[in-house]
Amino acid sequence: MHVQVSPLGIIIAVVFFFSIGGILWWMLHPPPQIKPEVAKARRSVEALKRILVPTSGMPYSERGIELACRLGAEHQAEIVLTYVIEIPRTLPLNAPMPEAEEKANQILNRGKEIVELHHLPPVLLVERAREAGEGIIRAAKDNQVDVIVLGMRTDLRGAQSLWGRTSDILIRKAPCEVILDKLPESS
């Protein structure tokens, strides 16, 4: 028996060693076990397939759109952008308001750009209501959304309630999960 060394043999031996070693190492390092409570919390978020974001065109509400997009990115959620035109009680709900409608479309199109940057499907809605909160809730029910993400104004000192009227209505009456995003006043 003579020692017979060939470069190809050396290469095969090295590849063999690392293939077997590598695959065994991978096998022996499984991910850690997930506790029941952790699994429940983790999987409860999975069902977010349609997210409603009310927008007023203000920076804080557009930040809400960005947050919603990131939240829905994993499951390719549909982002339902909603602008509510508040109709004064002195006018009928279907009263023509061309200026407000044009503004609504501009704001929604700006929001659509944010959504499209994340390659998610946007849905644009213009709702008419006496109060913003009421219009958002109707849109949420009609579109069977899984969650509402609301970007809140930073300065609530003049507000009548703790979180602002719209947020109050959403928290009380929303048919789904509600996520409120409020930045500190200094930002």
Partner: protein, 521 residues
Amino acid sequence: MAQVQTTEKLELRRDISVWGSFTWGFADVGANTYVALGLVMAYTQGASSLVFALAGIIYIMIGLAYTELASAYPVAGGGPYFTMRGLGDFWGFVGGAALLLDYTIDIALFATASAGYLNFFMPYILGRSIESFAISIGPLHNVNYFWCIETLVLISILIWINIKGIKESSFINELIGVIVILTESALVIMGFLFAWKPEFLAMQWKTQFPSLHNFMYGSSLAIISFIGLESISQAAQETRRPATIIPRTSLTLIFTVFIFAVAFSTLGLGVLPWQEFAKHMDNPVAILAKAIPLIGFIAGPFAAGLGALMLFISSNTGVMGASRLTYSLSQFGIISPWFHTVHPKFHTPVRNIVIFSMIAVIQTVLSFLTPHAMDTLGNMYAFGASLGYTLVFIALIKLRFSDPYTPRPYKMPLNIKIGYKGRKVDFPLLGVIGMLGVATILFMVVLTHTIGRIAGPAWILLCFIYYAWYRKKEGFPLFKSIKHNWEKEQIEVLTSAEEYDLLEQYKNALAERDKKRVQIK
């Protein structure tokens, strides 16, 4: 409709670790390669590496199918359980009977082979060779009673180990698995570094290519070297966190065995002429090891010892597989619930272990009454596996449609989305290719294996007689299924396996389905 009543409270305990799960499979598959190498090379000559690689590709597809199903349904029962869930009770029974034949042969064949390797040392201990114990009894010639007794002693040891418990049984596999992997790796690395001649391999490939018939026959034998994947799924109900662990151990087993099979055949053809392996079919790895410089001088006794160990643990997986398979079948009304009992102290299915090991004992004794015991057992081996695997592929495809809600931690690759009853289903293209591949192997086995093509169907028929009797006695339908509450069972299995993440996924999927049903109404 009739429903199975199960009153048994004692369950199998989850004692098998990651390494244990892997070695259950490796013990079985690794030993096959060790035995099949010489046999396959004798027929496929210079094309041995190609044949092992081709058979290995079909084996990889089988492995991927098992990985998907075993991680989705981590219960004892393996292939027949998957078949039953996908195709119903009757086909589950057919798959079960086919694999039960393999498990009992596995016990007999590998215990016989293990004793054969031990006999290598006989001239040093008793001063005479094993052949000298062969006698003639009337018309029966070459009956080796001593070898037969050795085999029966080994089977008895395995029965005792398996009755004591899976922990002890698994420990043997784990320990020997380490030794075997290290030794085989050392042989391959040393061989490629110091003995392999690529030009010699090329010369054999060019000048010693087999005929088409030999190539096909060799391929049907090569698939034998990959039988044993089932063992990992059989142990699923005793594996810790099976849905997480099994995809890893299965994928590792598939690729490890594939690499070893192709490496040994490639190394062999680059070191020795294929005729050398054909001449030493009983001990091909030892012949190869002997030809490797620096380590060759200890190769003979070491390879014999290693072979005995490997084949012993392979036989052990047969005992475990047969007992767990029947434990599972009894749970679902395929066979009597009498088989769904675990021992109060050992937590093992003692009745199943004893009864099916006894069937292996009968097979052993009968095979030793023929001139070539191992030939007789080996001839029947591929039938059961290829039939069982074909049914598993069909079940996998069906389950993608009928049970899309069960989370699949691993999914066979190469899927196309198709619409079915208002939802999207991942249709497994690779599953279809694998099914056709295994069905071809089954056809080749029936065509070329003279004993297997008679004994295999005869065994299935025998089992069917029992099945028909039992189902009639219990008032269960013969060809239709008993009503099973698969959803409740799946929740219980995932809970007991502590796979909480998958449990939540499953519950969410069912809730989503129910919501949609309500909306439609």
